[in-house]
Amino acid sequence: MGPLYHLGRYALLIKRAFKKPDRQKVFWRRVLNEIDKLGVSSLGIVLIISVFVGAVVALQAAFNMESPWIPDYAVGLTTRQSIILEFSPTIISVILAGKVGSSISSEIGSMRISEQIDAMEIMGVNPASLLVAPKVLAAMLINPFLITLSMAVGIFGGWLGALASGALTGEMYVFGIKSFFHLYDIFYALFKTVIFAFIITSVSSYYGYFVKGGSIEVGHASTRAVVSSSILIIFANLILTQLMLT
């Protein structure tokens, strides 16, 4: 099956998922559930990775920019920009694609092979609306918070790294953090995050929803979901950066 076949089937699934829900109350309760499942459970991994990467970025900046021509506060500035513009929105999203994407596609995939999705269909319930849409919405709502948190924690990690490097004072780092700051950068990063959240959840749902066969195929589907959504994120990142920063 060619890419056009997948694209068409994907578009139909998304269209069906965002039809008017059979029951508003049930739908929104599921959205809340998913926020809890997708968001809160990812908090730990996001925080840990962010603080360490922030520290490493600052350390690298401090070691590689030791020159009389570059002011000390450049370490803070570089760290902040790296984290806000790319690390938090893009790299954390790719990490979430691995964690959230595989769990979504195996959850929906195992419902498919055990005929739970057919059972909903037979009852006259729209399974796409009940299974796919809440996950997509939840991630689009909660990921911006996760990423904002990642930015804050990453910059804090950078402060620890800067101090550890001994190359500059904490005050200098903080001064760097505050220099040449544009609010637009945050907006840009969060906008990307929302797009990436859509990609992760919808693509992973797609792979799970159309599984055929048994548990081995569910495993394959979740691998494919992670690979495809990671590649799509990186690709979308290129396009969005082109469009929004130039």
């Binding site: 059979d22 029951r23 739970q116 057919d118 059972a119 037979i122 009852m123 006259g124």
Partner: protein
């Protein structure tokens, strides 16, 4: 009443159903029998629309299913209950939530009213005090019974059962058969059952169709099946040692 008219279905060139016609009557058990792989599940899935037929028409009391819009089909499905071969219980929900699910989606009842209905259905299938267990905490027979309770929760006019007693011990199978039989008569449902269990065939076969090589090879009822001279059906019925000896 459900009528299938000249339905055909093939997968990648292999014909599974070939011009099959049958009428399934109201208030009785309509059995579809045949060897494993003969197309019983495919036939049932074509009738409920989980598979699209290549050719032919399906009528639910004179409503042509194939001519219905997506929305009309959705409406019709609220009159259908289906028991899947594997149970298909929602494993993220407990027993009560499973049976309540269709009620929550489609009725405006209060929680109390829905709960009463759930308990009524669970009592019908002889299950008590399991409301808060999850499907993986139940035995196979209990799962089947919960699935039946879920299938009848909306008081369906049409009930589909795909091998309701496969993988169960004889006593539990008989119990499930009796249960389906009782429900069919009490609620005047049009019930279609796939099976290859000869005991079910003989105890509940008000109407039987035998599928062989994609075609209906024989039609009749539970008495006729023992007296017929049709060779294909005899080969199917008298395949076990026990049956051969009884025939003598």
């Amino acid at each position: 009443m459900i009528k299938a008219e000249n339905i055909s279905k093939s997968f990648q060139g292999t014909n599974v159903l070939n011009d099959v016609s049958a009428t399934f009557k109201k208030g009785q058990n309509n059995l579809i029998i045949g060897q494993s792989g003969s197309g019983k599940t495919v036939m049932m899935k074509c009738i409920v629309g989980l598979l699209e037929v290549d050719k032919g028409n399906i009528f639910y009391d004179d409503r042509n299913f194939n001519k219905m819009s997506f929305k009309q089909r959705k409406e019709l499905r609220r009159e259908i209950g289906m028991l899947f071969q594997g149970g298909a219980l929602f494993d993220s929900m407990n027993v009560e939530e499973n049976v309540m699910f269709p009620l929550t989606m489609f009725t405006k009842w209060t929680y109390k009213e829905r709960q009463d209905r759930v308990n009524f259905c669970l009592e019908r299938v002889n299950l008590n005090n399991v409301n808060h267990l999850y499907p993986d905490e139940l035995s196979g027979g209990m799962q089947k019974r919960v699935a039946i309770a879920r299938a009848i929760s909306m008081n369906p006019k049409y009930l589909f059962c795909d091998e309701p007693n496969s993988g169960l011990d004889p006593r539990t199978s008989v119990m499930i058969d009796e249960l389906i039989d009782e429900l069919t008569r009490d609620f005047e449902m049009t019930t279609i059952i796939n099976t290859h269990d000869m005991n079910s065939v003989l105890s509940m076969g008000d109407q039987i169709i035998f599928i062989n090589k994609g075609e209906i090879a024989w039609k009749g009822n539970k008495d006729e099946i023992l007296t017929t001279n049709n060779k294909t059906i005899n080969d199917f019925v008298y395949v076990t040692e026990m049956a051969k000896r009884l025939k003598g």
